[in-house]
Symmetry: D3
């Protein structure tokens, strides 16, 4: 819908009861808005994002041994990632709500880092890379939350913990046979 349409259709049904002539319409340039996806066809879409959290070797060992006192780090982070994917439409202000058909969250553990890959699939009118990115960042934040006690130094700071290299590694769209 163009701004002009909004204004015109409003004026048409606005019989002099409250909208005085002296109103100044704000300049729309730069105003935030959702993208109109009404005319887009439903497509089968897939996006994969990836990122990593840098951790101390001691923390990595504890995660692998399932010896973190707060509980199973990767199982909790996987659920945090899936939930974040599903909530992206309310977390990112201008995102649309799209029907998520599949989420896959995969961890890979290195000597000094844990890498998280989140693949999201939808059959909808707009892509799902923001969903995949929210899955990755919230999943990695959940890892951080679970290992806080191990990563903090004596002063309560996190000198070495980092979330890094969060990117979209793949994005695809296919026509739906419908």
């Amino acid at each position: 819908m163009s701004e002009e349409d909004a204004v015109r259709s409003g004026d048409g049904s606005n019989g002099g009861d409250g909208s005085p002539d002296d109103l100044t319409h704000t300049d729309d340039a730069g105003d935030v808005q959702m993208v109109d996806v009404g005319a887009k066809p439903d497509s089968s879409r897939r996006a994969v994002a990836r990122g990593e959290i840098r951790l101390t070797p001691g923390t990595i060992a504890a995660v692998e041994a399932d010896a973190v006192e707060k509980g199973d780090v990767l199982a909790t982070a996987r659920i945090g990632a899936v939930q974040a994917v599903k909530h992206t439409w309310e977390t990112i202000p201008m995102c649309h709500q799209i029907p998520i058909t599949n989420v896959d969250a995969e961890f890979a553990v290195g000597d000094d880092r844990i890498e998280l890959t989140v693949a999201v699939e939808t059959t909808g009118k707009t892509g799902c890379e923001m969903e995949a990115l929210e899955g990755v960042t919230t999943g990695l934040n959940t890892v951080w939350d679970m290992v806080k006690a191990a990563e903090k130094d004596g002063d309560g700071q996190y000198p070495d913990t980092r979330i890094a290299d969060v990117k979209v590694v793949d994005k695809r769209k296919e026509t739906v046979d419908a």
Copy 2:
């Protein structure tokens, strides 16, 4: 689903294991319920709502000069409106969740009021006027929240601030070519 269906299908699979004969089914008349939209076709729908907040001239001037200490009033209210549109299915108890394809929020500023027009579009089984209305009222409440300090009198009251004339100015439905 008719009430009778609900009762009957229940009874059928209810082999004497916990539901004694002496249960009194509550009279359904007046009981709140969602409208069954299962048989309705997907249509392209659009609703536009509008309302206004009355403010003191000093507040209006501060909004236009972007001089409100709490920040950019209209940008924040626009986002509050869009988020409210997306959340209407949980805010209004009997609303259905419908796929919002477009939201457009427009402000017009007068000498003593700010008017907000919210247009919502969906491709679904039920209309979106409640979404547009929630966008308008929450957008106007967000304006109020941002200008609280300017509108309060010495006693902490709001003698002049008002939200008024909230109405649905247009509602349309078109068949989807599918």
Copy 3:
């Protein structure tokens, strides 16, 4: 927290690992921000808001007779209002989450309107007038949602339905004896 503090504490722990010197800090003037309530004492606070929805006499009669097909209008709207009060911290972008201790939603029915008064009480660091306003506007929107079928004209429009005169009628703060 002042902006300067944020910048300085950041710089201190920022040992050359990614934040180059050539960054331009955005001008904070006009940037939206929450109000810092950390230094405010907990007080017993109460706010009362009120508003009305104008309806056709036939709809009013149906509401009073509990004859609206979608169900009990005022019971549903009362719950919608209470839930909206509790959710205000996420609905209004810059609101704080405060502990609501009491909500009272009262309807008064006239010949051509239903008036809703919502009183909210909290023991917190900031007032609850936005909570009361969200209760009123969402409660009235819920009334609208419940009587849509009765209020629509033959063309699917709402020529007479209006939400009007939404205001804060009382706001108080008392020191907590603690």
Copy 4:
């Protein structure tokens, strides 16, 4: 999406910039995941769940007389049930969000129990029995919340209150004519 796909598509766009060779991919066996419903057709689906709450005869009498001080028990529980149905996709970690087209909540009152039947209908890619179950358990919990004062003994305990016999009584799927 198979796990292999996720790994491979990720590797393909992963030009040596952060994912070292020494990463150990976690064994996927037992890892929680959503079911991929992307290839499933939209079907018309219906599920009915039922359960009961055991209450003291005095409480039952108060519910039937609408004499519970906290308010109308069944009206509130009915709305609690409908809202729970709509929120199941976020309450149950691995559920998909599906478009609910109809919810019907029915109470039956016995001498020592209140039975709640919730029927849910959707036109989607996966069934809605979890939605019906969440409607039943949250509806019954809402009854409990409304009658707490009547059910508590002198020691603040609930010796007799029970939620019992929660089951899925019917589940159907029909092809959508589309």
Copy 5:
């Protein structure tokens, strides 16, 4: 706040601008309302609820062997339970939001059932048994969701699956030393 107060304080600030004399205040008897907890002291409170889900022996064996295709049943259900505890204030319409300080979810596995005990602790103005009950019922529903494929019969029905015996097993309140 008494109802009389609400009416009176409203009338006092209601200078003839929109609230005509002919309004009929609805009879409050039976109207749902939150309990006013404003005058209650903060106490250390604890509630424990328990319930069970009846499952087929084959499903129980798969859960114990962590061989359920959809993933780790008990880890997922534990997180579902904790999240449900935290969300009770929005799930149960008349619940207050209280600061949860601790949640403990414990499973016990028998030959034909899994039992879930959820203990919740808070330092607040009202008890947390509803939080414990929501933790139990949503935790058990999450178990159901994870084992759907194993529990369904050839006709897609759940002839044996049941949630049963959900009760509050302990509830305590202690004065906070403050």
Copy 6:
């Protein structure tokens, strides 16, 4: 509450009515759980997190000129960050809900990156670094969402866009004078 307590208090009030002797309590080692903060005093706490998003120079220029078609990037991202801070208790599965008293989100714009610093303050029983981290990652994801059209290459991929160097730069706790 220790695990032993949970088991014992449950057993104590469990008079043989539903918990048969043959139940096997699951081994708690590794089970995820919230940290018990009930015995911690309320403290004034502050955490600052920082991160950056790498963008193409053309995108940076468009952001600075407020020429991005989807709207004001930094205003939207600032609100996204504040909302994410407030929602951390539900986004990160094992986080507690704490009363946020202040949030400050600051952007700094470089030639090839935008840096976001989020400072969070609370007066509660546990720290707020997860809130600050969620503010940073969601704020940066919101930037990404707003500039998607500018950052995508001809193939719909994001070859250069990265979120990087997300860290906690400061964390403090002070005793509250109460």
